[in-house]
């Protein structure tokens, strides 16, 4: 063991109550209904690296993002930040200060009634990193410069900026608490590609310069490939494949990872014909029994339909698949 992990998730599950309102349930005698958004998820993130979670809608990746900064409490399992339970870490301002978050929607993540300088200085004031007005002002200037804006932009309101500039403001705010761990929930999926490149480059630069650790959530495999050191592929609340990003992209093992990689239209394959995998994403309220992917899986057999696969090592990669475990994946 070299350096300890910044964030560690141990068998974390999270359930949402999706029952009807109490009165309606009483009259129709319906039981409570729970949605298992995150199911037995474990991972750890080493300092200065990027761990990415990728998956389609409803796979639970955004729920993990919120669990990782303490916006939700896990229903089961533990999350450790710097080897301390997350809830006790968050109770100490000195530790809470060291984690922050960047959001997907650059329009909803900035309070439209606040000036940019007030938005960026909120963490500075909350953690009393600086208190004198000119000190705060100077820090805001440094932060805005760090993300490619100027101190004069601080006087403006969010609606005066483009989507990419707003995401820069969002990053400046996240850096204001001087964190070393950032949770990035789809930070570029609302942006146009040329702007996405700006933001991804900025995030990589900042990581190098400040030694940041990222938990990077995305549905875009190409973006994840560009950013991730390690990667987890999620399907209906579970991580089905996890390991070094390079290894997974070179030789994907889990049938779902292969499907995802095959489904992405690629610039380098002009006019290619392909046979997409059929089937729909099942509802997370009623996931299929056994391996949740079996209805769409070309390798599924009877065992897959009844028995949930365990996470097993296959080379450098951890895979939850009976076919891989039995060597049926060819």
């Amino acid at each position: 063991m070299t350096k300890p992990a910044v964030l560690e998730a141990i068998a974390v599950s999270h359930l949402f109550d999706v029952s009807r309102p109490f009165l309606q349930r009483m009259f129709t005698r319906e039981p409570r209904r729970m949605l298992r958004a995150v199911d037995d998820v474990s991972f750890e993130i080493a300092p200065g690296t990027t761990f990415a979670l990728v998956g389609e809608s409803g796979c639970g990746k955004s729920t993990i993002a919120r669990l990782a900064v303490g916006l939700y409490e896990p229903s089961d399992g533990d999350i450790l930040f710097e080897n301390q339970p997350l809830s006790s870490a968050r109770a100490q301002p000195g530790l809470r200060r060291r984690m922050n978050m960047i959001f997907q929607d650059p329009y909803a993540s900035l309070n439209p009634r606040w000036r940019v300088s007030d938005i960026v200085s909120e963490p500075i004031r909350a953690f009393k990193i600086a208190t004198r007005p000119n000190e705060v002002h100077a820090r805001v200037g440094t932060l805005l410069a760090q993300v490619g804006l100027t101190i004069r932009d601080g006087e403006k309101y969010p609606h005066e900026f483009s989507g990419g500039q707003r995401q820069r403001i969002s990053i400046a705010r996240a850096l204001a608490s001087e964190p070393d761990f950032l949770v990035c929930d789809e930070p570029t999926s609302a942006l146009d590609v040329s702007v996405q490149a700006q933001i991804l480059n900025l995030m990589r630069d900042l990581q190098k310069r400040l030694g940041l650790t990222y938990l990077f959530i995305s549905h875009n495999l190409a973006v994840v490939r560009h950013m991730a050191d390690r990667l987890g592929v999620m399907y209906l609340g579970r991580i089905v494949e996890q390991g070094p990003a390079e290894a997974i992209f070179r030789t994907p093992r889990h049938p779902y990872t292969r499907l995802l990689l095959d489904a992405i239209p690629d610039l380098e394959q002009v006019g290619r014909a392909r046979t997409p995998v059929g089937g729909e994403l099942p509802s997370p309220i009623a996931p299929p029994p056994g391996c949740a992917f079996h209805p769409r899986c070309p390798l599924a057999n009877d065992r897959c339909r009844v028995e949930k696969p365990a996470h097993t090592m296959a080379g450098a990669v951890q895979v939850a698949c009976h076919a891989v475990e039995e060597g049926r994946d060819g």
Partner: protein
């Protein structure tokens, strides 16, 4: 700053809307007449010494025996109707403003807490609001007014009556504000800027006040304006029924009640002019409120 306000979309919308301009002008005239009544009114209707029964029931201009010293005629005690209306509007507007203000403060507080806390707190507070909304608001105001007046000692009743009325009308209006604020709060509290504040551990009360409140205040202004019309009518109704303000502080409603006795004996002006003023005032306020609602609603633009 001023030029920015002048060029804003709202100001532009206002400048180009004839209804908004006309109703704002009318409201402004009435407001000035009420606010500066002691300087503008031809007589002081509160000054009993200056009243003379010789002057009673003088008709308004346009009728025989009318003169310019009492353009809208006089009542049974020789009080100038125009002056009485101007002083009466002061009371009506004062009660209206203060009771709406009270309702806004209570409504925002309850709406924010219910919407932000959610769960059982939300359910309890909103069921109370629902129950109250099943009664007409004037009934609630009557009930509250009756209970408090009965509880107060006789000697204090007259002096405190205006506060009792403000409280009663305010209480009857708060659910409208609470429900609107709660609805907007439910939307805002799930937005990422609130999440960002929660991640760094900003306390809930501060998130509610500094983040959520500025973003839910728009609709409150709309209902506040429309509520002002309602409150003025509520006060007039209570006064007309005789449970409102004491005769020493006559509001428009009180004036209408006094004049009502003479409606069929020929002295119609004593009640019709205060009534018209009430209608114009509420109409102007409601038109302004409607305009504000449409102007702030992006879907109607």
């Amino acid at each position: 700053m001023l030029t920015r306000a002048w060029n804003s979309d709202l100001a532009y919308n206002f400048r180009t809307s004839p209804v908004a301009l006309a109703s704002a002008a009318l409201a402004l005239i009435l407001l000035i007449a009420a606010a500066f009544a002691p300087w503008l009114a031809p007589h002081n209707p509160m000054d009993v010494a200056s009243l003379s029964l010789m002057d009673s029931f003088k008709p308004p201009l346009g009728m025989a025996d009318a003169d310019w010293s009492n353009p809208l005629g006089t009542d049974n005690q020789g009080r100038d109707v125009l002056s009485a209306i101007m002083y009466g509007m002061r009371i009506s507007l004062l009660v209206g403003f203060l009771s709406v203000l009270f309702a806004i403060v209570v409504g925002i507080a309850i709406g924010l807490v219910a919407g932000y806390a959610g769960g059982i707190t939300d359910t309890l507070l909103m069921r109370v609001a629902d129950v109250q909304l099943t009664f007409p608001s004037i009934l609630t105001a009557l009930l509250v007014d009756g209970v408090i007046s009965a509880a107060l000692p006789h000697t204090m009743r007259e002096a405190l009556q205006i506060y009792v009325i403000i409280f009663a009308i305010g209480i009857s209006l708060w659910p409208n504000f609470a429900r609107t604020v709660r609805g907007s709060t439910l939307v805002e509290r799930n937005k990422d800027y609130v999440m960002a504040a929660r991640v760094i551990g900003v306390p809930s009360w501060r998130i509610m006040l500094s983040h959520v409140l500025p973003n839910v205040i728009g609709p409150v202004m709309v209902i506040g304006t429309l509520g002002l019309g309602l409150a003025i009518i509520a006060e007039a109704t209570l006064s007309f029924l005789g449970v409102g303000l004491p005769p020493t502080q006559p509001s428009l409603g009180t004036l209408i009640r006094f004049g009502d006795d003479f409606l069929f004996s020929g002295e119609w002006w004593v009640t019709v002019f205060p009534g018209l003023t009430l209608i114009l005032m509420v109409l102007a306020i409601n038109l302004l409120g409607d305009w504000l609602r449409d102007a702030l609603n992006p879907r109607l633009r």
